[in-house]
Structure formats: C-alpha cells, structure tokens
C-alpha cells in the first residue's frame, strides 16, 4: 500500500504549507479544550474533593475546608463498622464482576461459537440476542420487574399451578441481588457476541477444514483451534472487564433503588451525589478504588500479553 502519511517536504505544494498550522489548530482546538476541562480538570478535581472536607463556614459565608485523609478515614470506618451500605456494596460489586468474567463472557463465547458454526436459525438468533444491548434499560427493567414481580403473570401462573405466590424477588434481602444478576445474564450477550463472531469469521477456512479432516470434536475445535486464533479479541474483552472491575454493577437504581442490600460501589457513589448531595466522600471512595485497580488492570494486561499464543494469519 502507498504511504498514507503526509510528508511536508516532498508532497505538499509550498503554497499550502502556510495554512497548515492554522488548520491543525482550528481542528484540534475544541477536542483538546474539551479534554482539558472535562477530563483533566474533572479528574484533578476528584482528587481535590477527596482530600478536602468542609469543617465550617467563615464569617462571610464561604465554606472553610480542612485538608487531609478525613474522607478516606470515614470510608474505612464505615467499612469496618459496616455502617451504611459500604461493605455490602463492595461484595456486590465483586459478585457482578465475577458473574461477568466467569459466567457471562464464557457463555457469550459459547453462544458466538455455535452461531459461527451456523446452527439452524443462526441469522435470527444473532440479531435477536443483540437486541437487549440496544433497547433502553428503562424499558427492559420495567417489563422485567412487572413480569417477575408480585401479582405479575408469572405469579398468576405459579398460583394456578401450586396455590402459592412466587417469592417477592425485588423486595427480598436474599433474592434482591441474585434477581438483578439474572437480569444481567439475560441482557448481557449482545456486543461481545458480535465481537467474538466477527473475529471467528476472520479465521481462514483451511484451518477449520484441517481440524475437520483430523476428525476433532466440537469442543476441541472450540478450545484448541478457535480460541488461539481469536486470542486478541478474547483478551481485549477480558481486559475491558478488568478495567471495569470496580464499576461492575447492574441497573440497581431501576430495579431496587439500592434497597435490600443490592447496592454496589457504582450505585453507592451515584446515590451519594443524587440523593444526598455529597461530593467529597464519594470522590474519596472513587479515588481509593481507582488507585487499587491500577495495578490489577495493568498487571492483568501484562499477563494477557504473556499468554498470547501469537498466532499470525
């Protein structure tokens, strides 16, 4: 392919070099300014918020701040003493993360493989299984809640069958988080499935044919032929899952509003801002988990690169 990189010296007529800096600056001005204000300043401000607590009001009405680890200490205290929903939020977050990595991603891979193998109806399944990722969560959860909730159609059927009501899933301490986790699985295949299938579609036909001639079974084909061939895509989705570790959550707000021990870190921070108008305390929690996840994310990236079978085709 021809060089696609513009070289000033040999390819640009002299008259146009003049206007170039102005053009580049005008094209980049808005995105760069946005980045500085809405990324750099926002994240820098997070750090300021986290290390600052209001201790009073001055005589002219402005708040008086004290710098230190106060917000972090409050968080550790709340965690150790198990006040608020701090502890439960962390456990739930880890549950959603484990669900994603150990259940949803493997199932997605499994689904993608069989659609790639053109199972009967694969075109229809491919589109249908993708739908939950483009339909609004508000619509999906509204229907989900009403179908499984008390006095819904499932409840009616169950009553007709057994004479008993189904458990109140959305108002139960034991079942609240599990029912949201089931929702996550229910709607969770879409994007990654398309991603895996796209990668599988790029595997050269000969490779699959060779396996077939050797008479290998479907699971050997899946694990020993397809997996190494699409490793790049697989590791990307795993890395993204690890990057989102402490943001793992479900639509808590829509299904239970955080009640019945269903809170997660993500929801907890949201709720502090939305319901309690607290900014410093949740900023400290966010910063704490950001710092904790840095070595995990970068360590995991390094591990994935090491495991790379480096198949080239």
């Amino acid at each position: 392919m021809k060089s696609t990189q513009f070289k000033i010296k040999d390819r640009m007529p002299k008259t146009f070099r003049k206007g170039m800096p102005l053009f580049i600056i005008s094209m980049l001005a808005v995105p760069v300014a946005w980045f500085i204000v809405f990324y750099v300043v926002v994240n820098f401000n997070s750090i300021i918020l986290a290390f600052r607590s209001i201790v009073g009001v001055s005589s002219v009405g402005t708040p008086v701040y004290e710098w230190g680890f106060g917000n972090f200490l409050k968080f550790f205290e709340d965690f150790v003493l198990d006040t608020g929903d701090v502890q439960i939020s962390l456990w739930n977050t880890l549950k959603y993360f484990a669900l994603n990595v150990l259940c949803i991603l493997p199932l997605t891979y499994f689904f993608a493989y069989f659609i790639y193998k053109k199972i009967w109806g694969h075109k229809f399944f491919r589109i249908l299984f993708y739908m939950p990722s483009i339909l609004s969560a508000v619509t999906m959860t509204t229907i989900y809640k009403n179908i499984l909730g008390g006095y819904g159609p499932i409840d009616e059927f169950w009553k007709a069958l057994t004479g008993n009501s189904i458990p109140a899933f959305f108002t139960s301490y034991e079942l609240g988080t599990p029912i949201i986790m089931i929702y996550q699985v229910w709607v969770g295949f879409g994007v990654n499935m398309i991603l895996y299938q796209g990668a599988m579609g790029r595997i050269p036909e000969e490779v699959i044919e060779a396996g077939k001639l050797d008479g290998i079974s479907w699971w050997r084909e899946m694990f020993q032929v397809v997996t190494p061939m699409i490793w790049g895509t697989l590791s990307t989705t795993l890395i993204l899952a690890f990057t989102g570790l402490f943001n793992s959550s479900g639509p808590i707000l829509l299904l239970t509003n955080g009640a019945f021990h269903t809170s997660t870190i993500n929801f907890f921070i949201f709720n502090q801002v939305y319901r309690y108008s607290e900014y410093a305390y949740p900023a400290a929690i966010g910063l704490f988990f950001t710092v904790i996840s840095l070595p995990i994310v970068f360590g995991f990236r390094a591990l994935m690169n090491k495991l790379d079978p480096k198949v080239e085709y």
Partner: protein, 284 residues
C-alpha cells in the same frame, strides 16, 4: 429438517439449539406480553394479567402522552428533550472525533504522538466514580440542568476517535494531493474530498452514539433534572408513583413507544451497527 450445516452428527448442536430457542423465547415473550397488556384497561389488567385483552383498544398509546409525567413534564416534552439531547450530543461527538481523528491521522505536527498516546492511556485508566467531581465542575461552569450540558458530551478522543483514526489512516493521501493541485485548501479538501468517503463510518458511529444517548437515563437524571428525557422521565414517573397505583397498561404503552426510534434505526442500519462493533478492538 436439516438442523446444521456442519458437524451434523454431533448431538450437542441439538441441545444448543434448544437452549437458543428457549433463550430467544425468554426475550420475545415479555415484549409480546407487554404489547398485549397495552390494549387492556387498568381494571381489565388487574383481573387478567396473563391472557389476551378483550378488545384491541389503542387509547393507552394516546393517554400515555397526557398521563405519564415527571417533574411536571409530560411525555410530549420528554420526547422533545430526548430528541434534542440525543441528536445534539451525537452530532457534537461525531464532529469532534472526526476533526481530531482526521488531523492526527493525516498530518504530521509536533505533539501528534502525544495526543495519540494520551488517548490510548485514558482509555486504559480504570477511573471509578467521576460523578461527584463532574457534578461540582458542571455546577461551577453553570451548565447543570441546562441545555448547555450538551458541551459535556463532546469528547473527541474516545472510541469514535480510534475508529475514525483507523479509517482515515487507511485512505491514500493521493486524493488530497489531487484536491490541492485543483486549488483546494485544507478545510475544503477535508469537507469535499475526505468526509464524503468517511460518511458510512461516521453514520454508523452516529447511530451507535444516538442509541446510547437515547437510552442513557443516568446523565439526565442527575445533570438534567428539569429536562427529563424519555429514558429518565419514564423512570422518574415510576419512582414518584406508588407501585400499586401505577396504571401498568398505560406505562407499558409509554415504555414501548420510547423504543420505537431505536428499533427503527436498528432495522435500517442493522448491518453497519453490528459491523462497527469495534472492528479491530483496542490495540495498545
């Protein structure tokens, strides 16, 4: 019936087919049930949750616009808010990414590598809980609960940037050279020569972005309190109304109508939406 085109003998395919069919049913059935419910009156629904309605009556679809409201905003206004908010932020986001991606991919200038590197690095950073800071910064900027919130959605170095960067990188420079020789400047070359070629990619990115913003309830709930969109408004309505006094058939008519634009876009752009899905993945 020929169930499979390959691995015909493996019984696993039959088992998986059954699993797929059951999962498919679990996705279709709730929507059929919800659709069927919208034809019932509230009273009819209380006595008959699971079975067919007596008559097909579309009144709930009209009443939803009047009755469903959040923060004194009815569904008409929610629809209007959804439209300007989604269209506005989609246009801004795609334009910003196109400008930055075009220049970074096609021009050599000092700092180019830095921009690319920073864009990659920020995508890898696992930032937790930016919302408290966002709220205070937006408040200081005076864009909270204001249509100016649109500027917070501009971006320019995220996912769209990488897709467009890859696209522009693969376009030969010859086109531009020809345009220069014809007397075109930098800007007119970009607009007249390069952007028409990028249109399919930009359209797919725009559709994906639009769907994302249309469905997003978090941002409008927190940052656009008095401008509820369909997503945030239909949640706020449910939250403000006691569960037992919600007119479920009416609510279902509302939530089903709210997905029509997305479903329509998906039908039109189905292939490009599903193919744009992260073509090369994240390299870095």
């Amino acid at each position: 019936m020929q169930l499979l085109k390959s691995n015909r003998k493996s019984p696993v395919f039959y088992v998986v087919f059954v699993i797929f069919a059951l999962y498919a049913l679990s996705l279709i059935f709730p929507f059929l049930w919800a659709f069927m419910t919208t034809f019932k009156t509230e009273g009819e629904f209380i006595n008959n949750k699971a079975y067919f309605p007596k008559v097909i009556d579309w009144t709930n679809y009209i009443d939803a616009f009047r009755t469903l409201s959040a923060n004194d905003t009815n569904m008409f206004v929610m629809l209007f808010n959804s439209v300007w908010w989604s269209v506005g932020s989609t246009v801004l986001a795609v334009c910003a990414s196109t400008m930055s991606a075009y220049v970074v991919a096609k021009y050599k200038f000092p700092g180019r590598q830095v921009i690319y590197g920073v864009a990659i690095f920020t995508m890898m950073l696992p930032i937790v809980g930016a919302m408290p800071s966002q709220y205070t910064v937006y408040s200081a900027l005076g864009i909270l609960d204001n249509p100016l919130m649109l500027i917070a959605t501009i971006g320019g170095f995220g996912f769209n940037f990488f897709v467009l960067y890859g696209f522009f990188k693969s376009l030969p420079w010859d086109y531009v050279e020809a345009s220069f020789l014809d007397g075109g400047g930098h800007f007119s070359t970009m607009v007249r020569v390069m952007l028409p070629m990028a249109m399919p990619v930009m359209t797919s990115l725009a559709v994906v972005a639009f769907i994302g913003v249309w469905n997003d309830y978090n941002t409008p709930i927190v940052f656009l309190e008095n401008y509820p969109t369909l997503a945030s408004g239909l949640y706020l309505y449910q939250n403000a109304t006691m569960q037992h006094s919600i007119d479920i058939p009416l609510l279902f008519a509302g939530v089903l109508m709210s997905i029509i634009p997305v479903v329509a876009l998906f039908c039109i752009f189905q292939n490009s939406i599903m193919n744009i899905s992260f073509g090369g993945g994240l390299k870095g």
